[in-house]
Point group: C2
DNA sequence: CCAAAAGTGTTTCATTTACACCCATGA
DNA sequence: TCATGGGTGTAAATGAAACACTTTTGG
């Protein structure tokens, strides 16, 4: 029988950076690690890739297990392969970032799986290279969000432009003119204005919008220009 | 001793899609596979990840071995992890795409390592999922080339705007107005005009330019708009 | 002198920015 | 009525696209 004799074998894992938005701040979902080493320390949601699944499958599986959610927006970040990144045994990890609506399944998340949301800038120190992963994920989130309408994935079905505006500012850590922002967003043609207004945020109230899913998916690869251009 | 008992271990490989440009067409570098299975079939340049190297290290190593070149532009594409993608044994492969100046080391490539350049659209059928990898790499190359000046990596130190123009058309499989193109490229401020002209391509001759490396690296993350916008 | 490619000029149109100002409403 | 955020109007600046036209030079 043919074999790749003598080649080394490694463990392969996935780790997911799960982003959420509470209406004010960007958050990340962390879990208390359940196995040695570093048991009970905070870490990203992850797990080993099983024999009959792809890394994508594994990421979806661990996400479902830890959040109860399926069909989450999930994107491969990169592979993390430093030989000594896991002190016990060489493990390569495929990093993913996921965007979810934090309101949607908050109960399940916290009660069933001992996961917890942290403000992105006030999180505990994480195991291994997970802090690097989060930094990389934030960078990629910014990059993609400037060109593609992915941030909608973090909002509820009904949302207002001011909510979206705060989210954009939060992700990009910058101030954006509200007036131009609302025009830019609506001019993408991806939003459907609803009758209803949100009256909690202000006296005047802000109209709710929902995503036009068809146009969203059809235009996903197009380059949008969702951020103000830097002046040099 | 602590261990991740019972978790499966896999082989981990890298595969590189190496792009080059011969002045007219986009090409890809392939090698005749030297081990079973599928020995002597054409495949991407690849190899297993060694115990003391990261996947990035491994990619650079196999590139050096097969091209003689170091310092090649290299970017991680994604992981390929279908359980049965390698019929002998489960192997996950990290895909990379590389951009090189085809003129630079053509001799070494062909004589020392039995690698060969193929027109991207007239290549032999490749082993495993390597055709999928090439398709993905082309897509990503287009995406990045529309926003960042990476195509310069495929040209010699001195190049003309018409050469660059052909390369852009080739990569994007589209016609681009030469007049607007040259203005767009020069307006990035990344090019330095040289005294010398290339007189081979035309009677009038086209000025050579070279990259301003400092500005190139400083502006690499900025979003440029290097392609004409589609009209809808 | 002519053909052919390089590259500049110019007009038109679209997008982006900056910011004045109006709107709606709860307290 | 007034403070507060939501949202529209608008003018100026910038950028992109279309395309006429000039330049250069080998044959």
């Amino acid at each position: 029988m043919i074999e790749y004799s003598g080649q080394p074998h490694y463990l392969v894992a996935v780790d997911c950076i799960v982003f959420g938005f509470d209406g004010e701040h960007l958050k990340v979902l962390l879990v208390k690690r359940g196995l040695e080493p570093e048991i009970n320390k905070w870490s990203l949601i992850g797990g080993f890739v099983g024999p009959d699944e792809t890394p994508d499958d594994a990421a979806n599986r661990v996400l479902k297990k830890n959040t109860g959610l399926t069909g989450i927006y999930l994107e491969q970040l990169q592979i993390y392969g430093e030989p000594t990144r896991d002190p016990i045994e060489r493990t390569l990890s495929v990093g993913y970032f996921a965007l979810i609506d934090i309101n949607k399944y908050q109960t399940q998340i916290n009660d069933d799986f001992h996961a917890e949301w942290f403000l992105i800038n006030e999180r505990p120190k994480l195991i291994f290279d997970h802090d690097t992963m989060i930094a990389d994920a934030r960078k990629k989130l910014r990059y993609k969000a400037a060109l593609h309408p992915i941030l909608f994935e973090m909002l509820p079905k009904k949302f207002t432009i001011p909510q979206l505006h705060i989210l954009f500012e939060e992700v990009n850590d910058t101030k954006i003119d509200t007036r131009n922002f609302s025009r830019k967003i609506t001019s993408t043609g991806l939003l459907e204005k609803l009758e209803e207004k949100d009256r909690l945020g202000s006296k005047k109230g802000a109209f709710y919008f929902k995503l036009d899913k068809k146009k969203y998916h059809a235009n996903f690869q197009k380059f949008l220009n969702l951020l103000p251009n830097e002046k040099s």
